[in-house]
């Protein structure tokens, strides 16, 4: 377990020293959300209707953008081989990597989303739904995405491929999260949707590290 905590510390330190890694997806998040009023309609009435969906699509794309780098450096500099040789549990290792990824992508996205909500005229009632849905939903995105990142770590120009693999798997999260925000906005109950997101999070926490671990081993055998 010590190796896992050491890796988590190392990755957080690396992110702190190289802020572009986690700041760029955040700026991307902001810019994508700003495109919609420009391209579609800046009318607040219209915006307040689509705000939740737009913010969620932007968050999803920003997560995808930051996933590509998750295992790349570790494959290139040989850290991955050291992990595999160390005999430590790959399950714990990939879980740790996904959690670090959430800390530097999902968490800042969650914290920044209310600002975007203000810009997109999100209804007042929907702010908590937005924050909660992002807090519960983005870890699922990180966990599922880590599987894709592990699969494509050794592939040249794997970024686009990663999006192809992972986007269909993100659809359920998007559906439930956007609908929670939308229903909160029109004054209906939204705890059911958050419950579903929580169920998906539990499932992803248990199962995706297995797939990630299997996919990581694959990078060694080449």
């Amino acid at each position: 377990m010590s190796l896992v905590t050491a890796t988590i510390k190392r990755d957080l330190l690396l992110a702190a020293r190289n802020p572009g890694e986690w700041l760029n997806p955040l700026m991307f998040f902001l810019m994508v959300a700003a495109l919609f009023p420009l391209a579609v309609d800046p009318d607040p009435k219209f915006l307040s209707k689509i705000a939740g969906g737009v913010i969620w699509v932007a968050a999803l794309l920003a997560t995808l953008l930051s996933l590509d780098a998750l295992y790349k450096a570790d494959v290139e500099d040989g850290s991955l081989e050291q992990w595999l040789a160390s005999g430590e549990s790959l399950y714990a290792m990939s879980l740790g990597k996904a959690l670090v990824h959430w800390c530097i992508s999902g968490l800042p996205l969650t914290l920044m989303a209310p600002v975007l909500g203000l810009m997109l005229a999100l209804p007042d009632d929907a702010f908590w739904a937005l924050i909660l849905s992002l807090a519960v939903g983005t870890p699922v995105l990180s966990l599922l995405g880590a599987v894709g990142a592990a699969l494509t770590a050794g592939v040249r120009s794997g970024g686009l491929l990663l999006s192809l693999l992972i986007l269909p798997l993100y659809i359920p999260v998007l559906i439930f999260a956007a609908s929670a925000v939308y229903h909160a906005g029109i004054g209906m109950a939204w705890n059911g949707q958050i419950g579903f997101l929580g169920a998906m999070l539990a499932l992803a926490l248990c199962l995706t590290p297995f797939a990630s671990a299997a996919a990581l081993k694959l990078n060694l055998s080449r």
Binding site: L144, V147, L151, T152, G154, V155, G158, L161, L164, L165, L167, P168, L169, I171, P172, I175, F176, S179, F196, M200, L207, T208, A211, A214, A215, L218, N219, S221, R222
Partner: protein, 268 residues
């Protein structure tokens, strides 16, 4: 006491039957692992499967297109069901077969399973595409539009995306073994996700869209319509088996091309 004995004897025979079946399955499994055995045994199957799929298609389509009564609501346009539904069913079960074959390769490293999984991906994707296209053609006269965000349409579209993902990943990998393994992992992840996607899409749809464009609820189908449909479904499975066997044989010939038995076949 005697009852208990009888019961015990029943369990015993059942146990023996299970053990015998298990042994038989194990034997079959080990044989299936041999490319040569598979190649030789399927040589005799191909003409049968081909004839069966031609006869089934002709009978099913003639019965369906000429003899089945027209639908009271949709008229003759409903007849595309005889292609649409079998293709849709097959697209879904092909994904399951691909994932199972992939799992067999991941766990037991059986080469045959990897080849079968690789071969199924494009075939399954083609059936998925056929289902979507015929669905669109059917939708035009029935719903008045080529595409609606109906739950079933959307989940078929996502299934097609999953197939594309598996195929793209397999092509991107440099070594053959890692392409098989990566495809297997992704199709297993996809298999877990398919029910989640299906139910979330249905749930989303029922919330967002009132049932304006629903297919007329099928009251139990008239046998004259149902029998051709069943024939077409079975035939599509036979045709699928034929395609998979033919393409797997190609893979076998290519991968075993340096073996003496393949050289003999190729020379004769």
């Amino acid at each position: 006491m005697s009852d208990a004995l009888c019961f015990g004897g029943g369990v015993k025979t059942q146990l023996i039957a299970v053990v015998v079946m298990w042994q038989w399955l194990k034997q079959l499994y080990h044989r299936l692992g041999s490319p040569k055995w598979f190649y030789e045994i399927t040589t005799g199957w191909i003409p049968w499967l081909a004839v069966l799929s031609v006869i089934g298609t002709v009978v099913g389509l003639v019965l369906g297109l000429l003899y089945a009564p027209a639908d009271y609501l949709q008229g003759n346009s409903f007849r595309i069901i005889y292609i649409h539904v079998p293709a849709a069913i097959l697209a879904q079960s092909a994904f399951m077969m691909m994932a199972v074959a992939g799992a067999v390769y991941l766990i037991w490293r059986m080469k045959m399973a990897a080849w079968v999984a690789k071969v199924i991906a494009p075939i399954g994707a083609s059936f998925c595409l056929i289902a979507l296209l015929t669905g669109a053609i059917w939708g035009k006269p029935t719903w008045g539009t080529w595409w609606v965000w109906d739950a079933r349409l959307t989940s078929m579209l996502l299934l097609l995306f999953l197939y594309f993902g598996v195929m793209a990943l397999q092509q991107a990998m440099e070594s053959e073994d890692s392409s098989y393994r990566a495809g297997a992992i992704l199709s297993l992840v996809g298999l877990v996700n398919i029910p989640i996607i299906k139910y979330s899409v249905e749930w989303w749809n029922t919330l967002h869209q009132p049932a304006t464009l629903k297919l007329t609820e099928k009251p139990s189908m008239h046998p004259d319509m149902l029998i051709p449909l069943l024939i077409m479904i079975v035939t599509t499975y036979v045709f699928f088996a034929l395609l998979v066997i033919l393409r797997t044989r190609n893979e076998i010939l290519w991968h075993e091309r340096k073996r003496s038995w393949v050289k003999q076949i190729l020379e004769s």
